[in-house]
């Protein structure tokens, strides 16, 4: 049975996926070192048409770079007895720590609602999975979260910012801010025709601390007590040696 199944898959692949996306990224791994100020990823590649028949129309493309989705709690402040304190909260189970999309045209004209929702194309279509159900409150909190993340540069939309050459080559620059969370990222490229995704490819990217920063972070996470002792020793040594220098006439 197995060879037949494989053959079917091959036939399906050749027959039903007439277009392929070939992609590369300027950096597969982003190291956060002590001078890290954010960086820029260049995502580029080519569209491989069957039998080399390049269409006359400009292809529709969306490039998404997304980071790890972690559960977060969003809290809202309200005035209680004259001071502002956190009152209501909504938990989002799958809010990506980073999400950037670049498109070849405005999202509304590029892709239909259904495909946008399936592939999460656009900040408004992110599936954040609020755990407290629907309703007006959740809508308000979702707007609040989107607004916060947009202004911190962690979620962004760059509509019409994919450069396309001869309807084959494409490239986009994605800005990675300094406050980016570490983890497993992916760069996803979607080829879109008549509002539907007809081909896609995904490439993994790793963003991690490196060198001294990584060493410190790992030490703090895994050897808390030793890390604490080292911190105290460092502080005592600094204070003590400063005292010595001062006492010397």
């Amino acid at each position: 049975m197995k060879p037949i199944a494989l053959m079917l898959v091959w036939l399906f692949a050749v027959g039903a996926a007439p277009v392929r996306l070939i992609t590369d990224i300027s950096q597969r791994r982003i190291d956060i070192v002590y001078t890290f100020k954010g960086t820029e990823l260049l995502v580029f590649g080519a569209i491989q048409y069957p039998r080399g028949s390049v269409p006359d129309e400009r292809p529709g493309l969306a490039i998404v770079v997304r980071g790890p989705a972690d559960p977060i709690t969003l809290r809202k402040k309200a005035r209680v007895a004259g001071i502002w304190i956190n009152t209501a909260s909504v938990r989002f189970e799958t809010a990506p720590g980073f999400y950037a999309v670049a498109t070849s045209a405005p999202i509304k004209t590029l892709v239909d609602e259904r495909n946008a929702a399936i592939w999460e194309l656009g900040v408004d279509y992110l599936q954040l999975s609020p755990s407290t159900g629907g309703g007006r409150a959740v809508e308000e909190f979702t707007r609040g979260l989107v607004d916060l993340r947009r202004r911190s540069g962690l979620w962004s939309e760059q509509e019409g910012r994919i450069g396309i050459t001869q309807n084959i080559l494409y490239q986009a620059r994605i800005t990675i801010p300094a406050a980016v969370p570490v983890g497993a990222y992916s760069a996803e490229i979607y080829l879109i025709r008549d509002g539907k995704v007809i081909a896609r490819s995904a490439t993994p990217i790793t963003i991690d601390k490196s060198g001294f920063e990584r060493w410190v972070y790992v030490a703090a996470q895994t050897h808390g007590l030793a890390y604490g002792l080292a911190a105290v020793a460092l502080a005592l040594l600094a204070g003590w040696s400063a005292g010595l220098i001062v006492r010397r006439p």
């Binding site: 977060i72 001071i83 956190n86 604490g228 204070g239 003590w240 400063a242 001062v246």
Partner: protein, 304 residues
Amino acid sequence: MTLYLPIAELSVNWLVIVGLGALVGFLSGMFGVGGGFLTTPLLIFYGIPPAVAVASSATQITGASVSGALAYWRRGGVDLKMGGVLVAGGISGAGIGSIVFRWLQELGQIDVTINLVYVLLLGTVGGLMARESFRTLRRTAAGARPRRLHAHNPFIAALPWKTRFYKSGLYISPLAPLMLGAAVGMLTVIMGVGGGFILVPAMIYLLGMSANSVVGTSLFQIVFVTAATTLLHSVESQTVDIVLAGLLLVGGVLGAQFGVRAAQKLAPAKLRLGLAIIVLAVAIRLAIGLTLRPTELFSIFGAA
């Protein structure tokens, strides 16, 4: 000029942090306080996450206090017995404080609690200090001798198991300094302060300790309790940023030297008035922050 902080997970301008440390160090050298009550709010204003600011500030205070504590030790200005009782209280208070800290964190009320406690404490202490130093200044101006403040608190006098603290010139129950130490230890964990600004007045006005061992004993307690706090935060919440603490220390030790020199040129009552004004200013700034409509109504709390 930018430097990535591995635990706070953001890039800062290291000159700003060193400068902040120097400013606080200058004030602490001048007034003999740890300065944590300034470091923590200033770090939070700069954008450091409050939990990291509190924990790293405690580490910095250990370093900032140790040379002072050693200097007083050599001059015999530390009441070891009193200090031991305060440290014992302080470390148990720190343990309780870390439970409260975690509980408030889960409720999402840690920031507002930190701010409220700051406003209340700094407002009270600053107000009392300002009043006291005003009076002293007026009296000295009128030619009167400064009155020795002698405390007699009926509650403290009623506590059992009285014992002698020779250096402090006291015959009181060890429960009083134990409770004082515990209260300050809780503040150290929750607010990232050494607590000298409470400890010193409390030792003088509540316990009635003789002035020559107050500051040394207070520094002695602060070194041990902030060190214990660093360990607690390192084990419990991994919020001690060693790079941040190091930068603050570099600035702090430099600033402190200038502060000490500046202090030698000023009268003690004037110094206390100056400190009172700074303390009140921070309290007012925080109080305004609590009552004004915040620019961000929403805030994100990580995976908890």
